[in-house]
């Protein structure tokens, strides 16, 4: 995945460093980072949990190394250095998952290796760990990692319950429930992230409306640019 990390102001307290990644700056729901792994593995709750925790491990471990070596990493080759550090911890996480939960490891397949290109991990090294102390970087890594896990579970739980009628493999839906199979398939993933982003937008608009003291109109239609058909075609690219 690839997207420039958003510049964020360093919060004052270490508690704020830990909690902001969980919700207000949630990497998936607010910053739309790390979507490849977020969508690919969330068709079961167990896979979502494993992916979330593996990413958290890689993120926190790389943050520790990057922040403790931040004064010695030359600026020009910093990205390459970060990627090598991340890749090393990825190999550790990959082998650990294979040993501890072989079925989950098999179900996640090549997506574990793709944690390397998850832009949450690289983004936090560049935006936070390379500029802050080890202690703050650990908290930041934990916050963002758990925020990522929360977002994965928000997608994984509805997808498994609706698509398969199960939760962590146990049947939870009534016998008469016919599974909504498409939720387990790729379109279900795109639909689920679409719905979550709609809810996030709704939340934002409500807040903006409240701050402005105005009435909430989240479904108000945005006025389209009124341009006649012929002019529209003529607009230079």
């Amino acid at each position: 995945m690839s997207m420039a990390p958003k510049a964020t102001a360093t919060p004052a307290t270490s508690g704020a460093v830990l909690t902001r990644g969980l919700w207000h700056e949630n990497p998936v729901l607010v910053q739309t980072l790390g979507l490849c792994s977020a969508l690919a593995v969330t068709n079961a709750v167990a896979n979502s949990l494993a992916m979330g925790l593996a990413t958290t491990f890689v993120l926190v471990s790389s943050s520790i190394i990057v922040s403790s070596m931040r004064k010695y990493i030359p600026y020009e080759i910093r990205i390459t250095t970060y990627i090598l550090i991340i890749g090393t911890f990825l190999a550790v996480a990959d082998m650990a998952l294979e040993a501890l939960v072989p079925e989950v490891h098999k179900a996640m397949g090549p997506y574990i290796a793709l944690i390397v290109t998850n832009c949450i991990v690289l983004g936090r090294q560049e935006a936070f760990a390379s500029r802050n102390s080890v202690k703050l970087s650990i908290l930041d890594g934990l916050g963002n990692g758990f925020g990522f896990t929360i977002a994965l579970l928000l997608m994984g739980i509805p997808r498994e319950v609706l698509g398969n009628g199960t939760f962590l493999g146990y049947h939870v839906m009534p016998r008469a429930f016919e599974p909504w199979v498409v939720m387990m398939l790729p379109p279900g993933g795109f639909l689920m992230i679409g719905i979550l982003l709609l809810l996030a937008n709704w939340h934002d608009l409500k807040k903006i409306a409240r701050d402005a003291g105005a009435e909430l109109k989240p479904v108000s239609i945005v006025k389209p640019a009124t341009m006649p058909e012929r002019e529209r075609e003529a607009v230079p690219a």
Binding site: M1, S2, M3, A4, T32, L35, C36, L39, A40, T80, I83, L84, G87, T88, L90, A91, D94, M95, G109, P110, A113, L114, V116, T117, N118, C119, L122, V182, L185, P186, P187, G189, F190, L191, I193, G194, L197, L198, A200, N201, W202, L205, K217, P218, V219, S220, I221, V222, K223, P224, A225, T226, M227, R232, A237
Partner: protein
């Protein structure tokens, strides 16, 4: 021969990299404002993927035989170098295209499509021609999706849309519909 053809078809359509494997979603949000830009980035990605497939085959065959745990690191370094070379090449040959692609050109290096391609290719044990066909098919599939989503978005620019559905939420709704359409091909060929 027919194997090569079906590898191509399934990489391009049946198991489309974007719509079925969820690879490379950032460019889908980032460069699909205009379908032409999406098309060009798709072609640049295809080019990188073909070179990466070749590099992965060389690494697997001659270097990494005894050290599979170094695979991801080796692939990432190879891909980053390839992107660097392609970037210099495009800058020299077509400065206009270089400016248009902007930040998304170097970011092909951290694009999961290219790394995903090399890993799928390794796991399935493709030979050199099979891997190259897989790369070309996958690249064409990505280019098609970027161009289609770009076209839909260009038209929606002038449509009345609820305020809450602006931005990435709308893009994912479009992609969900497109993914449903491509599910119709599921099961065809050698997936």
């Amino acid at each position: 021969m027919s194997d090569l053809f079906w590898i191509f078809v399934s990489a391009a359509i049946v198991t489309n990299f974007v719509l079925v494997y969820f690879l490379g979603l950032c460019p889908v949000i980032g460069v699909t404002n205009k379908s032409v830009t999406g098309l060009r980035l798709g072609l640049a990605t295809t080019f990188v993927m073909v070179l990466a497939s070749l590099a992965a085959w060389v690494l697997n065959t001659f270097v990494l035989g005894n050290a599979p745990y170094l695979r991801v690191i080796a692939f990432i370094v190879a891909i980053a170098s390839i992107v660097q070379i392609v970037e210099m090449f495009i800058k020299k040959v077509s400065p206009g295209l270089y400016r248009e692609l902007g930040i998304f050109l170097p970011l092909i290096a951290s694009n999961s499509q290219v790394l995903g391609l090399t890993i799928f290719q390794t796991n399935r044990g493709y030979s050199l021609p099979e891997g190259l066909m897989f790369a070309i098919g996958g690249g064409i599939g990505i280019t098609a999706v970027l161009a289609i989503v770009g076209n839909v978005r260009e038209r929606l620019e002038f449509a009345p849309i609820p305020a809450i559905a602006r931005g990435p939420a709308l893009v994912f709704m479009i992609v969900a519909a497109l993914s449903l359409v491509f599910m119709g091909f599921a099961g065809m060929g050698t997936a």
